[in-house]
């Protein structure tokens, strides 16, 4: 149970990081995130099975393509309605609907749509057998978090990212172009989504409906952890991941969703900005 909780947490963290990156920096809640995740999986699948590219090449190509796609979406759609929160949500949700339902229309449903695992086989840890792929997920999450930290604290672009997130007007006066940085953040967030898809999807098959699940999971982790806080995401994914595993074991699987929803509700009532969110007492309640 310990091991499976850990893996569940890592999966959740990986799903949430991309969403969190975009929201934390540009303030755009990217509701197309789940769709991007699924599309990323399908593009890799097409590259491997129809163009016969090697696995590593197609994975990298997918990440790049999805990244560019995310940046273009920001450039041509979000930029025009920046600041109108409801319009942003509706536009990104509309994009999500278009992508997912188009995939459904093309008819990509079935067991043959699955990505290969990196290395086949399983090892025994603490008395349970675990696929090597799941261990990969844990390792990659740690890698992604470390590289994100280094990126935002020690590179020029990364510092610009944080500048935009903290005080947009001041960073504008320091010569940072908010639109360029925001579109970059959207691109990187989408690329992270595609990355998560490539890593997580080998565990199962690619389905259109998983797009909506991924969105809900990413949202709940981000809310509990505090929107825009990377370490909050890690802690929240542990809380929700273990809570889900424990309820699935001792109660019944269909209670898992209630547990994560209840966690969100409690957090929102007690501390709306999340566990590690920025302190904005007056902005969240009066």
């Amino acid at each position: 149970m310990f091991v499976y909780g850990l893996i569940n947490s890592a999966v959740l963290a990986l799903m949430a990081l991309g969403f969190n990156l975009t929201f934390g920096i540009s303030g755009v809640a990217n509701f197309a995130y789940g769709a991007i995740y699924v599309v990323g999986g399908f593009i890799t699948w097409v590259f491997i099975n129809h163009l016969n590219l090697p696995y590593a090449v197609s994975a990298i190509l997918t990440i790049v393509i999805i990244g560019i796609f995310g940046a273009l979406v920001y450039r041509f759609i979000i930029k025009r309605i920046r600041g109108l929160v409801i319009s942003e949500v509706i536009a990104t949700f509309g994009i999500s609907i278009i992508l997912l339902e188009l995939l459904r229309f093309i008819g990509l449903i079935g067991f043959k749509y699955s990505l290969p695992v990196f290395i086949d086989g399983s090892v025994e840890i603490l008395g349970v057998y675990v696929d090597i792929q799941r261990l990969f997920i844990i390792g990659l999450v740690i890698l992604v978090i470390i590289s994100l930290y280094v990126f935002t604290h020690h590179t020029k672009t990364g510092l610009a990212f944080r500048g935009i997130a903290q005080e947009e007007h001041t960073s504008l006066s320091l010569g940072i172009n908010p639109d360029r940085i925001a579109s970059l953040s959207m691109g990187m967030g989408s690329a992270l989504g595609a990355f998560a898809a490539i890593v997580i999807l080998p565990l199962g098959t690619i389905t259109v409906d998983s797009g909506y699940d991924v969105l809900i999971n990413a949202l709940s982790v981000c809310i509990v952890g505090g929107l825009g806080s990377t370490f909050g995401v890690i802690i929240a994914s542990f809380i929700i991941g273990y809570a889900q595993t424990i309820t699935a074991m001792y109660l019944a699987p269909h209670w898992t969703m209630i547990v994560s929803l209840f966690a969100i509700l409690v957090i929102l009532v007690i501390k709306p900005s999340g566990l590690l969110g920025h302190q904005k007492e007056l902005e969240e309640r009066v």
Partner: protein, 337 residues
């Protein structure tokens, strides 16, 4: 196209608008018609359309009216500073109240709908009372989560019929009664809320949205006003829920679906937020459109998403704002000095 570098666009009210706004003793039929036209034409138009369409499209009109009412209520809540992402919560509570009353206690239909309207509003307000201090997006997220949780809760505990829901509820006498009832309810909600929000009492609600701390500083208890707004808004949704329950003779988990939360917001965003009439217009565009697109099968949802994105990006202010500007104001290019 002439070079417009030294020009700016000027918008001024048409003189007929200025006259009919301020002078209450209207001087001509033309001015009266100017005021009445945008209000009467939709009322008569929808009535004629609804009564002469075939049965299938009558049902579509009923659904449209329900979504329109939800959207109007959403817009009312948002102009009181309560951004709700969960109209489905209020809708579902109203629906279950009516359904349970009818099924377990055999209350007749002409009692269940009023009771569900009041009780639904009451239950929703009490449910949300602990979070009434939350603002903006945080309140929105609570309302988004609650209906999902209630639906899963009913699924897990099997109360109120569980997954299957409650079926075989008493229906309306005939489709004409149904149609008249919902159309009348919709116009009543729209015009009552418009009148209410422009009264002195309603002004307080708008001021809470604009600046809640300043309103508090004026010695107004904003929590009680927020609770009142919540009660009014959720009562309207609960009415829709109760109506739908009897119209379909069924209540169940589907009443909590995201669709009832998203459609009103989409309608408001397309129609124009903050006008109350805009969301109604948006609903009357969106719902029939999705019905027309039905013959495309799965592709329908794709078109639907496309329309949403294009509308939101091309006309961020909303159709109603655009139309009322064209109707009330004239535009001209003025040379800069």
């Amino acid at each position: 196209m002439k070079n417009r570098e030294n020009y700016r666009k000027e918008r001024i009210d048409r003189c007929i608008k200025a006259r009919s706004d301020d002078i209450y003793a209207l001087s001509s039929y033309k001015e009266m018609w100017y005021l009445i036209f945008p209000r009467v034409v939709p009322i008569i138009g929808i009535a004629i359309l609804a009564y002469f369409l075939p049965l299938y499209w009558k049902k579509v009109v009923i659904t449209t009216c329900i979504v329109a009412m939800l959207a109007v209520s959403w817009d009312f809540l948002s102009s009181c500073g309560l951004l709700s992402l969960g109209q489905a919560l209020f809708f579902g509570i109203g629906s279950y109240t009516a359904g349970c009353l009818n099924h377990y206690f055999h209350v007749p239909i002409y009692l269940t709908i009023p009771i569900a309207t009041i009780c639904g509003g009451f239950i929703s307000t009490i449910l949300l009372l602990p979070v009434i201090r939350l603002r903006g997006i945080y309140f929105a997220m609570v309302t988004l989560i609650l209906p999902l949780m209630l639906a899963r809760g009913i699924e897990a505990t099997h109360i109120f019929g569980g997954n299957e829901g409650i079926t075989g509820l008493s229906p309306f006498p005939n489709v004409w009664v149904e149609l008249t009832f919902i159309i009348a309810g919709m116009w009543a909600a729209l015009f009552a809320l418009r009148r209410f929000i422009s009264s002195d009492y309603g002004l307080i609600f708008v001021s809470i949205r604009d600046n809640d701390r300043a309103t508090m500083a004026s010695g107004i208890n904003i929590y009680s006003f927020k609770a009142q707004a919540l009660f009014i808004g959720s009562s309207i949704c609960a009415f829709c829920g109760a109506f739908m329950t009897h119209s379909y003779m069924f209540t169940g988990i589907p009443v909590f679906t995201m669709e009832f939360s998203i459609l009103p917001i989409a309608a408001s965003a397309i129609g124009g937020i903050g006008t109350l009439a805009g969301p109604l217009l948006g609903a009357f565009i969106l719902v029939p459109l999705s019905e027309i697109l039905r013959e495309f099968g799965t592709l329908r949802v794709v078109f639907y998403g496309l329309v949403l994105v294009v509308c939101v990006v091309a006309l961020p202010e909303g159709i109603f704002h655009y139309l009322s500007r064209k109707y009330n104001e004239m535009e001209r290019w003025v040379r800069l000095e």
